[in-house]
């Protein structure tokens, strides 16, 4: 089972539609990171609308995937988490810490476009330094 990862201009768009085994999740993580690296996109949207359960392992994989994408210089938005999944994650004491999220795919696309369009902290720091010099 392979999760399709689509390239759309300078974004990657992916939707998890299956009930993932742990190995599926790890393969997805690897595929996504490699594709970010290969394409040099600026943003990634991960749609999890169809996930009816996120346990501590899957939460960790999503967290780590978002961090890995960011380390490659791209922004990430996770969108579409079901209310019951959010409820269960918080009850377990588990959250997608530090991951940008959005209610649905539409808002996720708006958010990633805004993130990609805004200059990163590093860019503004460089500009400031250059201005002084």
């Amino acid at each position: 089972m392979k999760i399709p990862i689509l390239k759309l201009k300078d974004l990657l768009l992916t939707s998890i539609q299956e009930d993932l085994t742990d190995n599926d999740a790890i393969v997805f993580q690897k595929d996504l990171i490699e594709k970010v690296n290969r394409t040099g996109v600026k943003g990634v949207v991960i749609d999890i609308t169809a996930m009816d359960m996120i346990d501590s392992f899957l939460a960790r994989v999503i967290n780590e995937t978002a961090n890995m994408v960011r380390l490659q210089g791209a922004d990430v938005v996770v969108c579409g988490m079901q209310p019951c999944v959010a409820l269960t994650l918080v009850e377990m004491g588990r959250e997608l810490i530090g991951v940008e999220s959005a209610l649905n795919l539409e808002q996720g696309m708006e958010k990633i476009q805004a993130l990609v369009a805004s200059p990163s902290d590093t860019d503004s720091f460089e500009k400031e330094s250059n201005g002084r010099g």
């Binding site: 190995n23 359960m53 501590s56 019951c84 409820l87």
Partner: protein, 139 residues
């Protein structure tokens, strides 16, 4: 009394076990929040079986009386056992490089949580109960 036994030997059995638990909870009139809690709890416990014991069995049972409906899940294995249960029930504790939310997180999702463990026999049983008159919903 309805009982389903699922052998836990490979990663896909975790998916089967949590899916079976969710379906049984739904068929017994539990709302989507409880279905999600149960599926998540089963996922955590059966993954622990694979990780620490290699294999085990997950038994899902319906136990109801006149007033309430209960779904009980027993997860058993013959692995090395949990050395220090108090420690394993502490947030942030892990011996396998995980995040350590497994057992204490699971306990918070269910109404009953019992754990017995010695070398060669670990049994964790959890249960969700709902009154017969009402059905819980998520939102």
């Amino acid at each position: 009394m309805d009982e389903t036994k699922i052998p836990i030997k490979a990663e896909n059995d975790v998916v089967i076990a949590r899916g079976t638990g969710r379906r049984m909870a739904r068929d017994l009139g539990f709302g989507t929040a409880d279905q999600t809690r149960l599926a998540t709890a089963i996922s955590e416990l059966t993954r622990n079986v694979l990780r620490y014991a290699g294999e085990g069995v997950c038994t899902i049972t319906e136990k109801s009386n006149d007033d309430s409906v209960t779904i009980n899940v027993l997860v058993e294995d013959h692995g090395p056992g949990i050395e220090d249960i108090d420690k394993a029930m502490t947030d942030g504790f892990t011996t396998s490089g995980g995040l350590g939310a497994g057992l204490p997180g699971t306990k918070r999702l269910v109404h009953e949580f019992n754990i017995e463990s010695r070398p060669g026999a670990t049994r964790i049983s959890i249960a969700l109960t709902r009154p017969k008159t009402s059905e819980h919903t998520c939102t």
